[in-house]
């Protein structure tokens, strides 16, 4: 058993999500960052590499150089997997090149810049025999796994309704005009794509809802809006859902809800039960059953009442809060273990295969595409949700 070697594209000085990926990779000691092309300029890339204590020889000017150089290294040296943590615009080319060069890929969401790119990437993943993991990190929380398990095991009966929401408030002002990097690219169509709010966080809500319930959106009716003057993309959106099996739903996301931080929350109701999970209190899952007191299920590696999937993704006994990084790290840990199994030429533990894939990426891009089209159409109520 050896440490899995990680390279990174993006995540230079001032970035947010790059640091998260690095902490997630480091947490469990199964991966080690060995190289990177961190920024647009070689100087800033080296600056980052130095801060990360990397060998300067393995800090590259750009991703093409990195892929080429790493591929040329001996097998006991070169990186195994590359993390892509750049703005959406660039994901496709990078992922495609990485797969082509024979590397596994962990890519930040959304998968690509356009739906067409996502579909093309799916083919390339299929042909490549490489692992492609998408960091829809919220499904990495153990109590989300528990929720999925409960729905699948029939604890709620046939699902009737879901409400999934993702309010934030940080873009209530035009931070993009104040030079805040995170705000800048997200509100810029040339970097983010056709949607800001729905692309950035609405797609997390969609992914979470489908992951937990196993239902598929069949049609939707969206009302996106831009509240901050001059912003070219949506910063708020409300969506009615019709799902497989006759379920109905509401999905909404907002970046202008002053006072909200990162309020991803889902409620699911079936014929005999219900459940609620809130990202800000991620170690708690509320479970309802008709005619009985509600139960509060709590994360805890010592809680024998939890399901195998939940326990598999827990590190600590009850009462020791695991948070955002730990959930994120569950994706990295699972990917590392699956790569490890390949290195050892054995089948991976099926529980380790539980991480978002390019299929989630295609669905996410199709969702963004569909809500934007629906919102632009003030005539037709329902826009069918087709996933290519």
């Amino acid at each position: 058993m050896r440490t899995i070697r990680l390279g990174m594209i993006g995540g230079g000085p001032g970035a947010f999500i790059g640091g998260v990926h690095r902490m997630a990779a480091a947490l469990d000691g199964q991966m080690q960052l060995v190289c990177g092309a961190f920024a647009g300029s070689p100087e800033r890339s080296q600056e980052m590499g130095a801060a990360l204590r990397l060998d300067p020889q393995r800090v590259y000017d750009n991703y093409e150089q990195m892929l080429q150089a790493e591929a040329a290294l001996s097998e006991d040296q070169r990186m195994d997997v590359v993390a892509i943590v750049t703005p959406n615009k660039t994901h496709y080319a990078m992922a495609s090149a990485a797969l082509h060069a024979g590397f596994h890929v962990i890519c930040d969401k959304p998968a690509t810049f356009t739906l067409d790119e996502a579909v093309a990437l799916r083919s390339q993943v299929a042909e490549s025999d490489r692992i492609f993991a998408l960091t829809h990190n919220y499904t990495g929380y153990p109590m989300v796994k528990e929720a999925r398990h409960l729905v699948r095991s029939g604890a709620l009966g046939r699902i009737r309704k879901l409400v999934v929401e993702y309010p934030q408030g940080w873009l209530a002002e035009a931070l993009e005009d104040s030079g805040v990097k995170q705000a800048g690219w997200r509100t810029d169509p040339s970097q983010a794509g056709i949607s800001c709010c729905m692309g950035d966080i609405g797609s997390h809500a969609e992914n979470l809802a489908e992951y937990i319930t196993g239902l598929k959106i069949e049609a939707l009716c969206a009302d996106l809006h831009t509240f901050v003057q001059g912003r070219p993309l949506d910063d708020d959106g409300n969506v009615l859902l019709r799902l497989s099996g006759g379920a109905r739903g509401i999905l909404y996301a907002s970046q202008v809800s002053v006072g909200e931080e990162n309020g991803l929350r889902i409620r699911v109701y079936g014929e005999t039960g219900g459940l609620e999970w809130v990202q800000l209190d991620p170690n708690t899952l509320i479970r309802h059953h008709i005619g009985q007191p509600s139960q509060t299920l709590r994360a805890g590696a010592n809680h024998a009442y939890l399901s195998t999937p939940a326990l598999h993704h827990l590190r600590l006994p009850a009462g020791h809060p695991e948070g955002f990084i730990e959930a994120f790290a569950n994706i990295y840990r699972n990917v590392a273990r699956v790569i490890q199994a390949r290195l050892e030429k054995r089948s991976p533990d099926p529980l380790d295969l539980d991480f978002p894939s390019i299929e989630d990426g295609v669905r996410g891009m199709a969702f963004i595409d569909c809500v934007v089209r629906s919102s632009q159409d003030d005539q037709h109520k329902w826009t069918p949700f087709h996933v290519p």
Copy 2:
């Protein structure tokens, strides 16, 4: 100053809301129940009257008899105001007759069975010079008054978005088939009208949202549904809102959300602030302001930081929970005080005029009418919300 005399139509054995009205009327000692026509049969009406310790002579067989007999009593005897607490079907005829007979009216919501009736009733109220109060009781909570005050005083800036929800779970099963009276009439079109869920609780959500924000719904897009087989009316509904001033919103109501009790909740976001109020924790109001820690405003007659409207509707110092009945009683108390002012031929305290009126009733009926039409129309996305 004398006690205001109350009569009641409906609220016989087994009813729920009649008892609430009686407790609300009694709480502050300003009204006294003196007569009633409580049930469909004279025997059950007398049975109820006896339980309420009324003079059997003033327990009537039906409302027509009551109105006639009470009108014939001397001024120092006869009832001042009549509470109508029957199923929706009957409200209009009763309210109309009561006004005609010269009595003030307190009517349970929704105001009438049809929108046309509500419009007609509005004219009759206008012509009558009688008070007509509608028990949209949730606006009676002091912290709802505080929320309205904050919005009106500009504390949130221009309003951008609201989310109002009202999930319940009690009709997740077909209780109407088990002889539960409350379920029976609400799911019966001949008694409840064109909607169950939206008529019963969706209209509360609409009223609360417009009361707090002062915004008016301009168009909506609704998706109502019936989940329990064989039920002829909706038991769940999701609605997108477009409101005056460019605000957007979501309103949803459900009676099949297993585990939810009476989860009326509203969140409002403006350019600089936000607020959240939850009926299950009614003495708390969360206030957000951009860039600052959120504040928890708490009900309490001793809290000098609260606004005059909130303080006017509080009875107890902080930490002594006031609940559903107290909020309901705020309508009764205000009506009693306004009647008192009339008896004393003086202007009422403007703060006492803060109770729902027939105008709220017309809006509520127009809302029910609009969501049902919108839901039935799978072609047009937006249905304009016109209030006659």
Copy 3:
């Protein structure tokens, strides 16, 4: 069946608890306030009587006059029961005279000014065959009844530990110097007795703990303190408890805990389970069982999982918050029903006998006496808790 007639001693202009008693008596329509001696001066007593719409002939100058005059009225006129809502100093003489004059008594807590008085009053109650109810109102909450039921039914196993706390913050400043009436008498030894904080609210905590658990305090170790300079009585106190059956506990009360409102809260732990109840969220009871998810029991007349005692004291279905007044009114309603049963010469419903008695009053006075003695003794660790 007739309305039970209530008289009141105290509760004049500016008082707090008198108004609570009146609302509690009125809520269920079983009692009617018919007379009172509301204040120290005849003028202010009449002023209050007029505000309450009483017959001026039955508004008295003082309690002696009231008892004499009411006793002289015919049986179908005179009051049945008198509520004593004055400062502690006066309770004994008033209660004693009322019993002597043949009236039932509802007395605010603590029962008397001194322990000796409480013991003497107990004898008089026993000899009188009159009802004496003490308004330790917090035990009137339905979920407190549920908690008691759970403990009694063995759901927690043998009790090991309890933590009961009652923090308030309103006396963090010397409000008694600003003319606040509530603060004035409570901090004045000549009116309140030997303790402020422990007498006013610590005794509620003691009563709640013993009511729920059925355990008896056997010894205690107290540390009372006065934080506000110049105040002659305690405004904060911490107590270690040793209880029957080997249980241990903590009880604390404070009036200087800035930001706390009326934070009565109890946690009880047994060998196999635990529970938690918080007065600020009184309709919720958390139940723990070893190895299982915690349950959230909720007040609701429609919740079949609740016990008979809890359901007996509920008025509304789940999700319609019942608050402080409703809990207080449960004492009044039970007393009214027991008096009604006497009038009808039948045995009362045993569930109606569930209200605090003079025995609770004696225990409460013994508790106050014991904590004050313990606190003054810096030598001996444990002070035995003897109830005369």
Copy 4:
């Protein structure tokens, strides 16, 4: 700048806290585990080393061997700092030897087995010029830093009262009889010392209270108890505190409170303000100010209203929960940075010096000693708290 090299004593298969230390060390990429003596047997130590992907040559049979071998390595190879994560019994000898061999030390709490050892270790640390950090990890939470800052900046006025509690439920049954390793050594006097509950978690409560308030315990009155039959050490304890500046307090800890997970919670009240922090919701700090609504301060690297110490210890923007490991990692990160500064021969950032030291260790041992003595003394109420 190079990676700081970490060795570990203890933390073999089945241990809990060793894994936490490793994740904490890895999270920020500033330390790397390079060697270890993980278990009592060489085989199990190697087994752990292999799982951790360590060079087998640097997996040692015991700590003496490790210290000797590492000291003999060249400066660019040998470990910088050793983490001691064994049961209490062994801490002193290991820490002493590590310091003597010239290594920095990170030691799990409590510092030692006896108070005398802690005092002796303090001298050795002072003489050694090495860093000694104690993992009282709860003070690593950013919102605890914020709480401390608020108190120090006078936001609460002079402190009057504190309540600190630490209930757990996991030892409500005799897990030590079922072979649970964690339960076994903690309840064994030959490994844990004179106290189980107070030593294991009560000392965390003491440390947290003194850290936040800056007050010192001056005397205490303790009542420890063992509820589970046959257990030789306390599993529950209640303590009254008298603190410097005239403050009073309550501290309690329990391992038999069924349903409680790891409920460390502190409330502090001063003349003008208060605050509350709860470990299970660690990213929230409630702040009270007299006469104003309470504020909810939230962790978030983007929250400009937070203090410098809080921001210094945050990794993520608001709404991305940081948990137990992140708080733990703040100790490791600070130690790494201080070692880095030494390597670079510059003064450390004063903010990095904020980690628990041997002085905290001595105070903690003195606390355990004092509560045990107090509890055994049923005669004297107050036991002075002297720190040697």
